[in-house]
Amino acid sequence: MKIKDGIRAGFIALGILIYLDLIGLPKTFGSSMVVTFAVIVFLFSLFSLRTKPAEAPAPLPSVLVNGLIIGVITGLGFALITFGFASLQAQDVKVTDVFAQISHENIEALTGVDKVALREGQSVVPGLTKLAGYFILAGVLGGVITQFPASKVLHIGDEEKRSSARYWLMLALPFLLFAFFLALRIEGVDIGGSEENSFGLVLIYACIAAALFAVREVKAGVHKIGFSALIVALVLVIPQLTDLKQNAILGAVMIFVIMGIGLNIVVGFAGLLDLGYVAFFAVGAYTYALISSPESYIVVNLPWFEGLNFWAGLPIAVLLGAAAGIMLGIPVLRMRGDYLAIVTLGFGEIIRLLLLNLRDYTGGPGGILEIPSPNLFGLDLGNPKGILYLGMAFAVIVTFFTIRLRDSSLGRAWVALREDEDVAEAMGINLVAIKLMAFASGAAFAALGGTLYAARQVNIFPDNFALDVSINVLSLIIIGGIGSIEGVVLGSIALIGLPEILRSVDEYRIVAFGALLVIMMILRPEGFLPSTRRARELHEADLDSPAEFEG
């Protein structure tokens, strides 16, 4: 462990702290951020000075010196910068004109000197000395902790016992989390205060995620059947226990699950990179809206036509979606890789702009209002719970079709297409047919999701069908694990469900989302739950084969 490493880690940590300062964490969260920042310094020190589990820890003097360096660099650096900002503000320079978040609240949170005192000339040095002291302490502490590696502290039993215990724990985990969620509902149990609902939802997410991981590892036979049955029962009961908002969020997750499964066919199975997937989502939603809403162009202008209900509109929307998929598919048959991505992106934008500009037919930016909600044998499904159950049912149907397709000869043809288009053609595969099948089925599923979306929203607008929907769907299947259906569910939870909870911390969630995408791609590009085939491929990849599935 050289001094140079400590200095480098110190400056990286300082950079991160300054970034967090500039994006306004101290301003938003107050003086608790001093401690949080110190914890970050501590963790940084710990992880940059730590050795690999197998190796012996670095000698104590070395880590102490390095820890001290990290602490001093972050402490002094941060204090100096804050001092600079504070003295500018003391002279009534408007720092907020450049850095919008470096306001008086920021200085107050970090140094304890408020606006009035600052103007009157109270020094910020004592507050900053304290802050620097915390950081230095945290740095040194991080170094000291490296002397106690986890493997030494937590020494549990032999390998066999451990793995058996881990297996059972893994199976039990979803139910434990669910039990925890139930416990929240007991009167008088108060965890998370005003955020209890969000906390409950996080537990539901964790429970589903744990179940998804466990279902892969569970031994075949009685174990698998029993476990799956229990999970299904649990999933069916969840909407009964959650409240309106939780169900609304889970409903949105479900719609993205349906779309994700569809895009998975196009991108994951057939390897056709589609960046304009939202187009089919829009076709589904607008088709249903146009033939059902009493305000739509068609219903208004056809005196004998009163609009269809959900169940009559659904097949029409899905068929039109599939047709749109084929219509896009035909011209791009010859295209590969990135070019395909760009054409589909352009196509998606064209559809949105047409919805916006063909005002006479689509209502333009005013959208289509009063879209009827689904109804099942007199049971009104136009509420979050109903939509969620409907979404689950659709997701199951879509999953069933997808698995059947994947395991059919068509599915194998897709894999061949993904691996190498030319070889696939040489093997006698009809590329035209299978490409169009991929586009059509992907588009049909997106249209299904779109119909459900329109019914859920009641009012739809062109803005709902912008590029970011395509990006979200693509990101979620990649984060979840491309080519795998469990991955789609997990990805939807991570990218659609989690950010919804963080809605009260508005912009931060998008910054975190962006950072997460980058970090994820670096650490685990195959996603959390990849199909085994894809995982293998991704780890073989070497410098010279940049694209092994786009052709």
């Binding site: 916006l356 931060y508 995408l517 786009e550």
Partner: protein, 360 residues
């Protein structure tokens, strides 16, 4: 796909392939005829004066000049790494912000509206600030978000780039605030020429942007074609492994490419700010998307193609709606439709090479 390796296909398949080819050509011809017919029809009905078209051409060229600077960033990176740098628009936005703050400073010391020399120096200073900040952003982006992914399948860096794009955009929103930052033009480029009675007006800024863009593009051309680094770039674009064997530091070349593309984007950001007098956190998105479209239109990976594609896109946006007799809100529909049509009928773009198997 070379014809030599073409397998013998069953007759029906061969027929469908042949048929498909003719269908493409036939549909292409029909579309072109329809478009020309529509243009003639509209031209006879609307009968705009010639000065109107000249005016729109000027608008289009200026717009195209800015697109070109940004499009080159996409094309350079794509040419070398075969990846779409989705966050390039955000690099432009960062440059725009830096230029804004530089302008604020120069205004506060009175140079922006001072003598002609001071005012010119202000612009130079702004461009430098914008380029430096953009270059830093670009290099950091490459180091943190793309380099660890070198060699991964293409989807992976694409997603990483999308993530970086969100990250940068909302970082700018948080750090600089949501309020639009308004440029005040330095006095030397504030004003217009009126060309006689024709009604044609050229703004100083527009002329400045067009000329500067062309100069910078020429500079870039010289760097790529004439310098040692340019040669290395082309070598790396051809084959990274062989280039490395030839003693070229591939990493250095890639960083240089990012720096070059980002510098152009930074200049583009400042010029966009001067031209349209506003910069905000999402300013990079639309020009980024358009410039990307332009790069593909011209043939991505090809420097000349990016320039031609950009100017063409600028002209299409300015002239298209009037020529087709549509309201101007259809300009993006026209731009994207042309993109889709060009890619369908000429997948390599207007001047692009036919990509080899590995690159496509």
């Amino acid at each position: 796909m070379s014809t030599l390796t073409q397998p013998k296909l069953p007759t029906s398949e061969r027929f469908s392939q042949l048929f498909g080819k003719y269908i493409y050509i036939a549909v292409g011809i029909i579309i072109v005829i329809l478009l020309i017919g529509r243009i003639i029809f509209v031209a006879r009905q609307e009968s705009y004066p010639l000065s109107y078209w000249t005016f729109q051409v000027i608008n289009g060229l200026v717009l195209g000049g800015v697109y070109a600077l940004v499009a080159l960033g996409y094309t350079l990176v794509y040419g070398i790494l075969f990846m779409i740098n989705f966050a390039h628009g955000e690099v432009l936005m960062m440059g725009g912000f830096a230029g804004f703050f530089a302008l604020q400073y120069m205004t506060s010391i009175g140079w922006a509206n001072g003598t002609a020399l001071q005012s010119t120096l202000t612009i130079v200073f702004m461009m430098l600030a914008g380029m430096i900040v953009s270059v830093i952003t670009g290099i950091v982006l490459e180091r943190l978000a793309y380099r660890p992914l070198r060699g991964a399948p293409r989807l992976v860096p694409l997603i990483s780039a999308i993530g970086a794009s969100f990250f940068l955009q909302y970082t700018a929103l948080l750090v600089f605030g949501a309020v639009p930052h308004n440029y005040r033009k330095p006095s030397v480029i504030d004003g217009v020429w009126k060309l006689g009675d024709s009604g044609i007006i050229i703004s100083y800024t527009g002329a400045f942007i067009f000329i500067t863009s062309i100069l910078m593009l020429l500079g870039l051309f010289i760097i790529v074609q004439r310098t040692k680094m340019g040669k290395a770039m082309r070598a790396v674009a051809e084959d990274k492994h062989i280039a490395a064997l030839m003693g070229i530091d591939v990493n250095k070349v890639i960083v240089f490419t990012f720096a070059l593309g980002s510098a152009l984007a930074g200049a583009g950001g400042v010029m966009l700010g001067l031209h349209n007098t506003v910069i905000r956190f999402n300013t990079g998105f639309l020009p980024g998307l358009k410039a990307f479209t332009a790069a593909v239109l011209g043939g991505i990976g090809n420097v000349l193609g990016a320039m031609i594609g950009s100017l063409l896109l600028g002209l299409l946006e300015a002239l298209g709606p009037s020529a087709l007799g549509l309201p101007t809100e259809y300009k993006d529909v026209i731009a994207f439709s042309v993109l889709v049509l060009v890619l369908i009928f000429r997948p390599s773009g207007i001047v692009g090479e036919v990509l080899s198997e590995k690159k496509a």
